[in-house]
Amino acid sequence: MKNVRMFFKKSGPLRFVSHLDMNRVMTRLLRLSKVPIWYTEGFNRHPYITFALPLSLGFSSEYEVMDFRFDDENDNFDISVAEKMISDVCPEGIEVIALKEPVFKSGKIALADFKITFFKDSSATAKTLEDFLNLKEIIVSKTTKKGGTKEIDLAPKIKEYKILSDDELTLFIKLPAGGEDNINPKILVDKYLAEIGEQNGFYTVIRTGLYLADGTKFE
């Protein structure tokens, strides 16, 4: 069996599909494509698929990564043919970027880029946002895996950012991502909105890229 890595965009109605549901959606998509995928052995046979890094419910992504395998008899299956076969059955909201052989292990992911766009009627401004991001300390409470909460300082986690303010206010930000350390941009933005006293500030989040610790693009 040969490992194959699929890069794709997730948007539109797929924004409302949770990570757990995504598994089922992609399983069906692969089945529909008729690409010769490898199934797990055993009583409950299902296609073997894994996602490099879960995406929060509500986020879009321009760079999702999913691994699967060609079955044993089809190790030499043409990867570009598979790409076409999957593309052909994608619903609105899933767009295949490319199918490639994996370069890095998904555990290597350490950073992610996000593009956050505030709704026009939000009182967020470039000035207050910049001031907020430059604070020496940004303390938020985060729920831990064990279900408790702990206080963390987000200030040192902000690797780089850029603010764009024309028609809409947009924040581009790089944050730790992956198994070692993972910061959901939502907790940062919600903290900011709370600081400026906005109750129901709406914004959209797009994950635009995944990187290794040294900044190399994850492929």
């Binding site: 109605p13 529909l32 709406f202």
Partner: protein, 630 residues
């Protein structure tokens, strides 16, 4: 979503609406855009139909009837049928707060803008959701208060066999199977509008002439001093008796080649293939067994081809065969043999719900083992042979034991048994019989050679409360009181002495309300309205159901639930559904009722015709060559 809609006064555009989705649980049930959902250009269709399922997305999306009609309507270029579900309470709060009207999933257009708002009535406890969905649409609840031609509020489904509790709210009921009659009404509407018609009353009068259409506003009801109905008076040429419709030839009947495949998990998330309608058995408590008569099978060739096409188009890796009693399908074994050829190849697991015990052959069991092993479920319904004879559940303890022994020898260690309490003529002995039967199955397990080594057995007993339903031989029977339900439940609990039997209950409070609604007349409309105004909704969800609220709603309307549920009805009393014809004659139901009291069983349709009346449709089991299936 490609369309951008600005809702009425709320100015909630799609972008903002989607952010609201993210403030509630399971936003995927409001977002639409699923694979297989159908988007049309609304400027190019003549009729827009909002197909409303009065429960959550997860429940409604599992319903086969909706899939069939959605596909059928949308095959027509001039109709756009869209799906609407009841929002969960968290999103309803957002909708009411932000002034977001109920919208259809495909276009996100407000339901109030549709030509038809159609509800499927699957269970009585969804009635308040019907009212709530109309209210969320901003549409007046009462038919009489909706003076414009559109939206027309229509309803069908099994509960339409006694539609009277909803008579005040619904303009048109479709009786029986909807595939033909729904389209005939839509066509009439199209024609009526094209000819410049714009009068609702006039349209309803025309519609009432179509077979299978019941327009409740065209009937006056008179009541006697005791509150019982004395007369139904049709007006404006409406038929005195309205006959249900059926699809005579199942092989030629429309079946969807594709389903809307949800992104989020739903209750039954799989491909479903209908194999026949109706049931030959005639269990006397079972409404489905009577209102879907006569039994009509699809041929194995058609099923096999349609099932394969459905799996290919949806990508599902699970398929279930759907019917009221799968093992009664005459060609079940050859059908399974053929289906397994491709399901195995395509790694599709096949599940067979609704298996009966008595023709559970070792061959079938062997095939089921090739298929993915699901739980083993039997429905003896009653604990003693005497009571099983009363309800015409023609299975014996020997059958049950034989099937369980086969199953245990085949590696099963868990059996689920369904029972009802409160059946007509039930005594304490019958209740204790449930526990005894469970115990016998436990004992049997340990005496079966070849049972799984080193494993214990689990017999799970699930008990619901009997609800007498219209168009069954038990439509005349009183439902037991709530106090009596509790006493009998306790008796059963006390009769079970082993931990190898686990016992679960269906809530008796909801059964009591279901009983009143099932046989209610149209005065019940006021009760529904009261309950709705007091906040009743999602009544089938235990967490939001309040029995006391409902009792207040009855009291405020000057009615009592007991009048509808707990009294014996004379066979010559006029029932609220007596002017509707579902194929089975009242004489037959009376005959069956008397046989029940005499503890006499009636053979199934394939053994011997019982003369129910459904042969008048000229199709189905009534005209099969007599053959002995047992």
């Amino acid at each position: 979503m490609k369309l951008t809609i600005v809702f009425g006064g709320a100015k909630v555009d799609n972008k903002r609406l989607e952010q609201f989705f993210l403030t509630v649980q399971k936003p995927g049930r409001y977002s639409g855009g699923e694979m297989g959902s159908i988007i049309k250009d609304k400027s190019k269709v003549d009729v827009r139909f909002a197909f409303c399922f009065p429960d959550t997305y997860e429940i409604g999306m599992s319903h086969l009837g909706m899939k069939i009609l959605y596909g059928l309507f949308n095959e027509r270029e001039d109709i756009w049928c869209e799906r609407v579900f009841a929002p969960w309470m968290d999103f309803e709060d957002v909708m009411r707060r932000e002034d977001i009207p109920l919208f259809a999933l495909e276009s996100r257009d407000p339901v109030s803008e549709f030509d038809f708002i159609g509800f499927t009535l699957q269970y009585e406890l969804s009635y308040t959701n019907v009212l709530n969905m109309l209210d969320l649409s901003g549409v007046p609840l009462r038919s009489a208060d909706r003076t414009d031609l559109t939206p027309l509020v229509v309803a069908g489904g099994p509960c339409a066999c006694n539609p009277e509790p909803l008579a005040d709210f619904v303009d048109i009921f479709f009786l029986g199977e909807g595939e033909e009659v729904d389209l005939e009404v839509i066509d009439l509407y199209k024609k009526y509008k094209a000819e410049g018609g714009n009068d609702k009353r006039e349209f309803l009068k025309l519609a009432s002439q179509i077979e299978g259409v019941y327009v409740p506003s065209l009937y006056d009801v008179e009541y006697g001093s005791e509150g019982k109905i004395t007369k139904y008076i049709p007006k404006d040429g409406a038929p005195a008796v309205v006959h249900k419709r059926i699809m005579a030839d199942m092989d030629k009947s429309y079946y969807p080649k594709n389903f809307v495949v949800p992104f989020t998990e739903i209750v039954h998330d799989r491909a479903v293939m209908e194999i026949f309608r109706g049931c030959i058995r005639g269990c006397r408590f079972c409404q489905a067994g009577f209102i879907y008569r006569p039994v009509r099978e699809k041929s194995a060739d058609v099923i096999n081809a349609e099932a394969k096409a459905l799996c290919d188009s949806t990508g599902y890796d699970e398929m279930s065969l759907s019917s009221l009693s799968t093992s009664d399908y005459t060609e079940i074994e050859p059908l399974l043999a053929r289906m397994i050829e491709w399901t195995d190849e395509d790694k599709i697991s096949l599940s067979l719900p609704s298996l009966r015990i008595d023709n559970f052959s070792p061959e079938l069991l062997e095939k089921m083992k090739m298929i993915r092993k699901s739980g083993l479920t039997f429905a003896p319904e009653a604990g003693t042979q005497r009571l099983r004879d009363v309800i015409n559940k023609n299975i014996t303890e020997k059958d049950i034991m034989k099937s369980c022994a086969t199953a245990f020898a085949g590696g099963y260690t868990a059996v689920k048994l369904y029972f009802m309490i409160g059946l007509p003529t039930e005594t304490d002995e019958d209740i204790i019989g449930i526990a005894k039967l469970g115990q016998k199955i436990v004992d049997l397990y340990y005496n079966v050679e070849g049972r799984p080594k080193g494993k214990g057995v689990n017999v799970s007993i699930s008990v619901s409360t009997f609800v007498p339903k219209p168009f069954t031989p038990f439509q005349f029977c009183p439902q037991i009181s709530k106090d009596e339900m509790r006493r009998r439940q306790q008796l059963l609990r006390d009769s079970i002495t082993t931990k190898k039997i686990s016992l679960s209950w269906h809530d008796s409070d909801t059964s009591a309300l279901e009983g009143a609604l099932a046989r209610g007349d149209r005065r019940m409309g006021e009760v529904l309205l009261n309950a709705f105004n007091m906040g009743a909704k999602m009544d089938s969800w235990g967490e939001s159901f309040s029995y006391d609220l409902w009792m207040n709603a009855f009291e405020k309307a000057g009615l009592s639930a007991e009048f509808y549920s707990n009294r014996e009805r004379a066979v010559d009393e006029i029932n609220p559904w007596d002017h509707l014809d579902y194929g089975v004659s009242k004489e037959f139901l009376i005959k069956e009722y008397n046989l029940a009291i005499e503890e006499t069983t009636t053979p199934n349709c394939r053994e011997k015709c019982a003369g129910c009346g459904a042969n008048k449709y000229g199709k189905g089991v009534c005209f099969e060559k007599c053959k002995n299936v047992l």
